[in-house]
């Protein structure tokens, strides 16, 4: 009887299903369209690239053909150097990124929880946030040499601050009413943290990961450009030294592709984690 008074649409299952069907069809069409445009935009870049070379708008000696870049890719893939470079870069990012995120989550909570910590840390955060990680590279090389330590410290730093800001903002923006509701049901402090605060923060932590991963990746290449034997940045420096244009352009493209792939992975996780949220679109 109550369904008659409230939400009449809900009870009419057949029409509801029909609406869902149409909705799904429209969504699918939109998705196909999106993929089409995605491919088209890259094709456009390729066309501009090759036309530019053919018409000598760009110097063909300085800028390799797409085919040459592909050949370089296959060659590097075959002799194993490409995978070695990519592996070195991935390990660095993974370690630096993980350390940075874990640190940011811990400090984020301390800041959100204890007023004293917030007051002390706030001005420091504003300062260090404004300091680009790349600015630290020369200093770190002097402190820790050109080995892995200096790079990982720079990467940790690079991922730490953006993540900290996102998590801290999320914490102070939490709705107090959910905590109140949980208290009236009998939740203790630990339960409040685990069952009320963490679930609300989870989407923000993933956003923090997304931002940090981007910054980390950008910083990594800069760090490798200056000092490294292995890594995609190192591969580019080597190519530059020997004036091998195809591997150099290959490096640029690889960095872009890897960033894109990593971002879409994190975004997929984000979508699953935030399914409960009301999207304002």
């Amino acid at each position: 009887m109550e369904s008659d008074k409230e939400g009449g649409l809900m009870t009419d299952h057949s029409s509801r299903d029909a609406v869902i069907q149409t909705f799904k069809a429209v969504k699918k069409r939109q998705q196909i369209e999106k993929i089409g445009y995605f491919i088209a935009s890259f094709v456009l870049v390729l066309v501009v690239w090759e036309v530019g070379r053919a018409t000598h708008l760009v110097n063909p000696k300085l800028f390799p053909s797409f085919a040459a870049v592909c050949r370089a890719f296959v060659q590097f893939l075959k002799d194993g150097t490409l995978l070695a470079h990519m592996y070195a870069s991935f390990v660095r990012v993974l370690i630096g990124f993980s350390l940075g995120i874990v640190g940011a989550v811990i400090l984020g909570f301390l800041i959100g929880w204890f007023r004293v910590v917030r007051l002390i840390v706030d001005p420091l955060v504003s300062f260090f946030r404004a300091l680009p990680p790349i600015a630290l590279i020369p200093l770190m090389i002097i402190f820790f040499g050109i080995g892995e330590t200096s790079k990982i410290i720079v990467l940790t730093y690079a991922s730490f601050f953006p993540a900290l800001v996102v998590i801290y903002q999320a914490l102070i923006g939490l709705e107090p009413i959910y905590g109140r509701a949980a208290q009236t049901l009998g939740a203790n402090n630990w339960e409040m943290f685990r069952k009320i605060i963490l679930p609300q923060l989870y989407p923000h932590i993933i956003t923090a990961c997304r931002v940090s991963l981007g910054v980390c990746w950008a910083t990594l290449v800069a760090a490798e450009l200056i000092a490294a034997q292995k890594g995609i940045g190192a591969m580019m420096v080597e190519a530059q030294n020997f004036f091998q244009m195809a591997p150099l352009v290959l490096g640029v493209l690889l960095i872009g592709v890897i960033s894109l792939v990593m971002d879409s992975i994190v975004r997929a996780i984000e979508r699953r984690a935030t399914a409960w949220q009301e999207k304002r679109t």
Partner: protein, 260 residues
């Protein structure tokens, strides 16, 4: 030991930029177990402050509120709260929301009992077909029914409701009032209900408390001698209309005073 809620000399003051604000002054009220008390009055009369004291969110500066002889010192599962802004957890499904309290250490419940209790209360509020839904998929009235089921599940002695139907449209509101009485008919609770609606208060309550502002205090307590179960049709009976007009008059007086 005295049963029920006893509010004795409760006063709450806030320090503001322009001085001391007396949100509540010397509030005294005794609520018997199973009573339905509605609190009405102009905004700023301290209705919500009083509810927050009973919920344990706020400590009174003077006096004391007790439940079954025990002073109220903080929030607890024996006093369930239903908020105006629903406050059901958006990251949990309907079932998980209702089961939330039962899974806390404070209300240790065996696993198979949890399912049983959750099913029982979802049926009571008529949401058995929406178990796996997330709150964003529910209408306002449905969300509030989840909140009521969630509060009921931990078996509180008292339900504190802060304008629970205030955000709903007139039709849904009407329906929710009847639903609430049906639910209470099945599972008796003591209820303290804050509202702006005099008709709503008259329809639901055993007694209506009218509050006055500056300082926030109880102006009058009016008993509603209309037998339960009450249906919506009772609202047009002469008895109901008379009591409602009486309460309206007092509320209007307080509203006028506040405007001067």
């Amino acid at each position: 030991m005295e049963q029920g809620i006893i509010i004795e000399g409760v006063g709450v003051t806030y320090q503001t930029a322009s001085g001391t604000f007396e949100a509540l002054k010397d509030v005294n009220l005794k609520i018997e177990p199973g009573e339905f008390i509605s609190i009405v009055g102009p905004s700023g009369c301290g209705k919500t402050t009083l509810l927050n004291v009973l919920a344990g969110f706020l400590k009174s500066n003077t006096g004391q509120a007790c439940l079954d002889g025990k002073p109220i010192n903080g929030p607890g599962p024996e006093r369930g709260v239903v908020f105006q802004q629903y406050a059901i957890f958006p990251w949990l499904t309907v079932v998980e929301n209702v089961a939330f309290g039962l899974k806390l250490a404070a209300n240790k419940t065996a696993h198979d009992r949890i399912d049983e209790i959750v099913d029982h209360f979802l049926e009571l509020v008529g949401l058995q077909d929406f178990k796996k839904s997330y709150p964003k998929e529910l209408s306002g009235g449905m969300k509030q029914r989840v909140a009521i089921a969630r509060a009921y599940a931990v078996n509180p002695q008292v339900l504190l409701m802060d304008e629970p139907f205030g955000a709903l449209d007139a039709q849904t509101r009407q329906f929710m009032q009847e639903s609430l009485l049906d639910i209470l008919e099945e599972e008796k609770k003591t209820v303290v209900f804050i509202t702006h609606g005099v008709e709503e208060a008259t329809f639901l309550s055993t007694r209506v408390v009218v509050m006055a502002s500056k300082p926030g205090r109880i102006r009058e307590v009016i008993p509603i001698d209309i037998p339960y179960p009450r249906k919506a049709s009772v609202k047009t009976t002469p008895d109901f209309v008379k009591i409602r007009a009486e309460i309206d008059k007092v509320v209007r007086e307080e509203f006028q005073k506040q405007r001067q």
